[in-house]
Symmetry: D2
Subunit: 226 residues, 4 copies
């Protein structure tokens, strides 16, 4: 078989590379969570802010950010809808941001999630994603109440459930955005009056502008880390 002349080879390689560059599918990133994530996809929300930041960095074509948050969701809800809302979309990266309602609904409806089952369903979600070679980044639940003197009713549980998530991130070699830790550090510096809300949230749970920006910064850092 005759070899192609050198020029021809170079042209072919150049053309192929060009096509790849222009047709390269952006990384599809799904944010899988509760009402905080549902609001994050709105104007001013953390996902919207991440998109803006990617534009500024000239990376707008490299990432496609998709919100998949539903109000009131707990880890069991994520598990039940992950085939339809996540896997069916063939994501490259999934942020899992869940836990507030698993803790909060204990007091609000009597239907919170036992911590052992929180870990089991969370593990099942991670396994399904890793089986498909999807990059997984875990987030700890930030706050229910912003007081800094350890008197928020759910502080104990939020700490315990966050520890479960940190352990899972380590065990499965997933990324980690430790919002619980991030918020705590931020509050110690910026909430000298021990306020219950309005520092990073507008209602003790859902993010205000500062909160959305802080989450966007940390998530973007994690996304681009690899």
């Amino acid at each position: 078989m005759r070899l192609l002349p050198r020029t021809a080879i170079i042209m072919i390689l150049f053309t192929a590379t060009t096509i790849m560059a222009f047709t390269r599918r952006p990384q599809r990133v799904i944010f899988f969570g509760d009402s905080i994530t549902a609001q994050g996809a709105r104007p001013g929300g953390y996902i919207t802010r991440m998109k803006d930041a990617l534009v500024q960095k000239g990376l707008a074509n490299d990432y496609e950010l998709i919100g998949a948050g539903i109000g009131g969701n707990k880890v069991t809800d994520l598990y039940l809808r992950m085939d339809d809302d996540v896997l069916a979309q063939n994501p490259d990266v999934v942020f899992i941001y869940i836990g507030v309602n698993d803790v909060w609904h204990k007091a609000m409806f009597g239907t919170g999630t036992d911590i052992d089952k929180f870990e089991k369903f969370y593990t099942a979600i991670i396994n399904k994603l890793l089986d498909r070679h999807i990059r997984v980044i875990l987030c700890t639940p930030a706050v229910i109440g912003e007081k800094t003197d350890f008197t928020n009713q759910q502080d104990g549980d939020l700490n315990a459930y966050s520890q479960v998530i940190r352990n899972l991130a380590q065990k499965f070699h997933c990324g980690l955005v430790d919002l619980r830790e991030t918020f705590h550090t931020y509050e110690l510096r910026n909430n000298p009056g021990n306020k219950d809300s309005s520092v990073l949230t507008h209602d003790r749970v859902h993010l205000n502008d500062n909160g959305n920006q802080l989450v966007a910064d940390k998530m973007l850092e994690a996304l681009l880390a690899k």
Copy 2:
């Protein structure tokens, strides 16, 4: 092809029938549930009473009854352990008897099961069993408190969750042992003093001798119905 002589045919059929009769695997029946079922496998428990009844009916070799109850279990626990504790045993029949803790843990630990998720996980369990052509018989949760004047705290929820189970039995053409209805009818006749326990339970929830016998009778009736 030459035909076998008549005598040979008769001998072959007789032998085959005999072998089948002696080697026929009994129907494997798993009782999948919570502490009521865990206790049901003990002496005096409803599963033990069903075994005794099968012996008396000369059906001891036709059914193998296996308890798979764990204290505190809710529908999500059953879902998480069904591969190991049920499917791995290749059952022919599965009784699902769950719901008390899904309701009760709302008040006791704040970790009850939302009714919509109760239905979704229950459905997932049924689907996995039916996919393997396993016969499925559903049971409604009987009582938390035996008062007959509708003042047991969880009466409303037990009625609502039982209705979910009745609807699932109809939708998936499963068997149904409506213990909620059975107990209610029994209590109306046998609990004129509006006692909170000691008619069919010893502690408002777990079965006493009368309760175990009543459940055994109803479950056996359902098992042999087909």
Copy 3:
């Protein structure tokens, strides 16, 4: 001392009686309760409807109706504020309409009222009122959810706490407006579709126009009964 002539005595008595008749203070009636009563004092509310009905009956000057409802109140709240909000106003009649939050807050905040303490604080309120010779009329809590098939989550507790109130009414010879019973009877006739709300409430708990009218009718009947 000389006696007054007969004529003078008659004139004096006549004048005094006439003055009393014209200056007779109307009966002061306080409605002591939660958000249902707070809303009852608004236009269209049950207290407002009672005022209208008294006008139509020509009894407008005989009764002064005063709302003393505060949202979220339980029996312990009534107990704590009864000196300021009830006794300080020297009422002739007090309607006590409490219990919904005592039951509901179990699931909503984990701070419902134990049934034994519900009875004790309710008793303490009644005793304080009776000590001052105030006429007391008790009301049972109507509904949390209007379903008629006994599947409202709090039905069991509402029945139990209502029974406590009925027993107290009997024990202390108080009036009773059995709204739990009244609503149940009404729903059986007028809620064939087993709706969760919008028959007598607009949100499962707070009264719509029909609900306010029904409560007004029953309370007026009780008020005028004596």
Copy 4:
């Protein structure tokens, strides 16, 4: 009237003083609380240990220690039974040791105490005692779970309710035994393994020998401080 001779006066004074010294009533000290206090009155319990310590200090005749703890009690229970169980005994000193169940029963029965009402009923108890010139010493609730990494479910609430008690002690110039603080300091030093129980409790809440001794030491210190 003739004056008594000097010698007679001296003799009378001497005799009176002697009688007073020998018949001086010991200070009556009531421990008003929940199951921790009920158990504190048993052998090995913190009240029993305080009695032993008083004997060793030669102060056995100066103080009469009386347990008035009832299992499951919350602040509203103390309020309801204080006339019978405390005031009727004419105490000189009352230790109030309550709060664990006010917090814990939120998750266990749905009948915890709202923090604002905790303060109101606690205040009412203090006022009734101070009106009678009884010395009052407040105790903060120690622990529900002994983990030191802030992951005990009720940590947030225990901190918040303890802060209420500290503020009340300051406001009403009462004594304070800050068991929450004492236990926390002790656990940091003596629970390096982050154990959930068995350092100062045997079941996360009720005191083991170490716990009873620690409470006895701190309470005795407070009692003798004045």
